[in-house]
């Protein structure tokens, strides 16, 4: 990787989710040199883990594919996967950045034929499926993965599995000697697009995510719907593998709560409304969804979507933040306890499956930033003069849906372009 060419006219984009990809492509299409780094083995971020997008309910593969085509076709972007920033120094227009790249153990020769994966025995929790399934120790991150290149899990290195994988590869693509690399480059501006992560549901003690098998999170629910996902697209519940047809959604699970995340995560109301349509898609009239909410925050044009879901007679809305959940031992059904604000009626409702609409928090913790930027109370990066030429994009700036994340990323690309133009002496 010694061939990375970068100058103070180069823009570094950190994070290859939809926001980072957008920022990188926009800047590159304006003729700027861009280095896009991604911590994981492929780009796409959390969007690649969704079954469908609201509000139009199309598959994310479509949106990602367009971006991938633009990315592949543009010579101005250099993509480095499995790479993170370890150090930043300097100032706007002239930063020195140290990048750390962990070994993939698979080089550019890989044709994604899959032979290595077949011979490897070891299996690990599949992070792409939020741990709902297993994947081999040699794997393709996901069907859509770009680059389409396999990865060896570092945990099989030094075991017989690694040798077996190497022997199975007919393209000389496996290199067990790969080492961690460190490179220091010069760039003019940095776009920080490291995105979000689901709030840890284990911390919401009264909801029993850690104790009750049939309490899952909204991000896991997306994976259950995926035909290539851990259940082949069936809504099977964890306790007994039965089809879940009566599904409860709990809003603000970890958000708007001074015990957890103070902020409203903004997208989870829409995400649950969208997910009620999944239940109907799978079971038609047999599918039932119940949404427990404080208030539904579906804003502006998205309100139409809410009205449509509200009109569905198989979807029930209960105005109540669920107080606690326990389990019916015989059936494995979660029982939701609370008081309905409309009439103050106490309820104890059983459902087949409970989906927690977990909040969004920044993926990089406040004290883990390799560079000093202004961070707000919620952990998101604030726009601030003091940040120099470091600009946040997408969910590292706020809890945003894809539409707004992309707008935000484009704005950041423009800001970064202005800085490198100045560095090049072409004011504007």
């Amino acid at each position: 990787m010694a061939d990375i060419i970068a100058t103070n006219e180069t823009i570094l984009v950190v994070g290859g989710g939809i926001s980072g990809m957008t920022a990188a492509i926009e800047a590159a299409e304006c003729g700027k040199q861009v280095i896009l780094i991604e911590k994981g083995p492929s780009v796409g971020g959390r969007v690649s883990q969704l079954y469908k997008y609201f509000p139009k309910l199309c598959h994310p593969t479509c949106g990602l594919e367009i971006n991938l085509r633009r990315l592949k076709g543009n010579k101005n972007v250099r993509l480095l996967t499995m790479t993170e920033v370890s150090e930043v120094s300097g100032e706007a227009g002239n930063y020195s950045v140290t990048l750390k790249t962990t070994p993939r153990y698979v080089n550019e020769n890989c044709t994604a034929c899959g032979a290595c994966s077949e011979v490897v025995d070891a299996e690990f929790d599949d992070a792409y499926n939020y741990g709902l399934g297993k994947r081999k120790g040699a794997y393709l991150p996901n069907k859509m993965a770009y680059p389409q290149r396999y990865v060896l899990d570092p945990q099989i290195i030094g075991t017989p599995d690694a040798t077996k994988a190497k022997e199975a590869c007919k393209y000389d693509a496996i290199d067990l000697e790969m080492q961690e690399e460190s490179n220091t480059i010069t760039v003019g501006a940095i776009i920080w697009a490291t995105g979000w992560q689901p709030y840890d549901a284990n911390k919401i003690q009264p909801y029993g995510y850690d104790r009750i098998a049939n309490v899952i999170t909204s991000v896991e629910f997306e994976r259950l719907m995926d035909p290539h996902g851990p259940t082949g697209g069936k809504l099977l519940r964890p306790s007994d593998g039965k089809e879940a047809k009566d599904i409860a959604f709990i809003q603000c699970a970890g958000s708007r709560d001074r015990n957890y995340l103070k902020h409203c995560s903004r997208i989870c109301c829409m995400a649950s409304l969208k997910q009620t349509t999944y239940v109907r898609e799978r079971y038609a009239d047999e599918g039932k969804a119940t949404v427990y909410y404080i208030d539904i925050r579906a804003i502006d044009r998205i309100d139409d979507f809410y009205q449509k879901v509200k009109a569905d007679e198989n979807v029930t809305f209960i105005k109540s933040k669920v107080a606690r959940i326990d389990e019916d031992k015989a059936s494995g059904n979660p029982i939701l306890h609370g008081v309905n604000t409309e009439g103050y009626h106490r309820y104890a409702n059983q459902h087949d499956l409970v989906v927690l609409a977990v909040g969004m928090e920044p993926s990089v913790a406040q004290d883990e930033f390799p560079v000093k930027v202004t961070i707000n109370e919620e952990g998101f990066i604030e726009q601030d003069e003091a940040n120099g030429a470091i600009f946040a994009a997408g969910c590292s700036a706020d809890a945003l849906d894809v539409n707004r994340a992309v707008q935000n990323a484009t704005a950041s690309a423009l800001r970064a372009i202005q800085v490198v133009n100045r560095a090049a002496g072409m004011e504007g």
């Binding site: 009264p206 603000c252 708007r256 709560d257 001074r258 015990n259 404080i294 105005k319 109540s320 933040k321 669920v322 107080a323 606690r324 306890h337 609370g338 008081v339 309905n340 604000t341 103050y344 106490r346």
Partner: protein, 208 residues
């Protein structure tokens, strides 16, 4: 209607939320409630009482003065703190419940025969007289709280425990004659008087 009650009604007219904000301990928090229902759903008393905290807070905002202040609900709170621990807005719910009970008591609106109220008053009078709780007098008063016959029955039932307490010097019969107290009861009474003055002045000052 007590004169204090009359005065408050006139002062705040229909704005019961304002009245609570000004006069009830931690009352300024009531407006922060977002009606999520977690306190009501978490309260162990939930199924047994008239109005859980969530509902009380909404009733305050809806101006249901009479219904709130005469309710038995706030008197049932056991201070288990479940609600405080879980309220997403960190309302000091337990304290508000006690504050409301106290305010209703001062106005003379609290339900007359609510046992917690009776006990609270007995305890307060017992404690403030000498600065220390007089267990013997308090115990006896408690026995007779529900009438003379009930009191005799309870006293007989508790006889053995009482005797054991005498034996282990946990209860002195001398307490009946005056009883032990702190050195400066006059000072204590002055402090309590001052505290009440401050409380009233604060309520007077408030104009939110």
């Amino acid at each position: 209607m007590s004169t204090m009650n009359q005065a408050k009604v006139e002062k705040y007219r229909n704005d019961f939320l304002k009245e609570v904000t000004a006069n009830v301990e931690e009352g300024e928090w009531v407006k922060m409630c977002m009606q999520c229902g977690v306190c009501a759903g978490s309260c162990p008393f939930g199924p047994y009482w008239e109005h859980p905290p969530q509902e009380i807070f909404m009733m305050i905002r809806a101006g249901k003065r009479e219904e709130v202040l005469t309710s038995t609900s706030m008197w049932m709170c056991t201070s288990c703190y479940n609600c405080i621990a879980r309220c997403p807005r960190e309302l000091p719910i337990t304290h508000i419940m006690h504050g409301l009970a106290h305010y209703a008591d001062r106005l003379g609106l609290a339900p007359k025969n609510q046992p917690t109220r009776k006990f609270a008053n007995l305890f307060w009078n017992n404690l403030t007289k000498k600065g220390r709780a007089n267990e013997l007098k308090l115990g006896i008063a408690l026995y007779f709280m529900n009438g003379f016959i009930e009191g005799i029955k309870t006293a007989l039932k508790m006889q053995k425990m009482g005797l054991n307490m005498f034996k282990t010097k946990r209860l002195s019969p001398m307490e009946l004659l005056g009883g032990h107290g702190i050195k400066d009861t006059g000072g204590l009474h002055a402090i309590l008087k001052k505290a009440r003055e401050i409380e009233l002045a604060n309520a007077e000052k408030f104009n939110g």
